[in-house]
Symmetry: C2
Subunit: 197 residues, 2 copies
């Protein structure tokens, strides 16, 4: 049907999250029909990114510099470290603009099933960083799933008694959340954590 180079490109694009064989095919056709506007700039952007993008040796974020822009930013509060599952979570947190501290990317969650233990997540590195950086608060922002909460619980236990405050994201009704559409767990948690008005 199409040349092997085109087929290969389709196969690789189909491996990206959110793309299947059909959408990868459409993407490749778009790339070749808009070669100067899309294909060439994309290839150039990838070459640049391949050269410059690296994992931050301090927090695990990806950026064009190491340490990353967040770790290098003197204006950010080193006393707060927000622990997140992955870079996607870090970016989501940054988009809110609500946090002005620093991050620590675990690169996963504890999972007996997948054989992910404390060593795989570099928990020791986090403990060492919490001690050496003079952090006063560790915010555990792992997801509100069983694995996310297990991981948060484990880290909280390991940090206990080290003179650092440990906190987690509040659980409750999301913005715009109608009770009728929310699951029982969320409503129960919101009720238990109710606050005086």
């Amino acid at each position: 049907m199409a040349g092997s180079e085109i087929e290969r490109l389709i196969q690789l694009l189909a491996r990206l999250p959110g793309l299947g064989p059909r959408s990868a095919r459409r993407a490749v056709l778009a790339l070749f029909s808009r070669r100067a506007a899309l294909f060439d700039p994309l290839m150039e952007a990838m070459a640049r990114a391949a050269e410059s993008v690296r994992v931050c040796s301090v927090c695990g974020n990806i950026d064009s510099s190491d340490p990353c822009a967040i770790c290098a930013d003197e204006a950010r509060d080193g006393a707060q470290i927000c622990v997140v599952e992955n870079v996607a979570s870090l970016w989501a947190m940054e988009r809110t603009g609500a946090f002005r501290g620093r991050y620590h990317v675990l690169g996963g969650l504890l999972s007996a099933l997948d054989g992910v233990g404390p060593d795989e997540l570099g928990i020791e590195r986090l403990l060492a960083r919490a001690a050496s950086s003079g952090a006063r608060e560790i915010i555990l922002a792992t997801p509100a799933t069983v694995e996310g909460q297990t991981t948060a619980h484990y880290i909280a236990q390991r940090l206990a008694g080290r003179g650092v405050a440990i906190s987690g994201l509040a659980q409750g009704v999301p913005m715009g959340g109608e009770l009728d559409y929310l699951d029982d767990g969320t409503i129960g948690a919101a009720l238990a954590a109710r606050r005086a008005l």
Copy 2:
């Protein structure tokens, strides 16, 4: 949030059909978290494709050779030319394996609104090819939309009286189509084109 190289990559990926800013972000994170398995092969595949992929000067298909594999295939029947809107249509037709002739890619459809006339679609080139290649049948496989059928009608008129058979795809009930879910136009066309059993 992320370095400018990463942002640029996200912006470019978001321009692909089927991808928005959010899925482009997920794709970029997947690319960097699986660098050796995904990012590097994709960059290599793009570099190869950029070098080798070109538009076939005979039919308008894209392939690693010019003329393309279909035009160069002696086993295919040069007496039949299937006229399609774009390369995506050509590939869709090829996937069926039902057609063993050759193609002609218009690169669009007649559209007064978008200022696409016969010159933009290279209709003269198609007429010249139909005459010089000794084709006996031109199959107009433009889509069953107003513009697709207008384009087919125009080409059919221009080809009339040149001693070449002109045909179009049959219209009717699609495979697995339940009448209750089909539009009136499709049912009407299927009824009008009913065949003896």
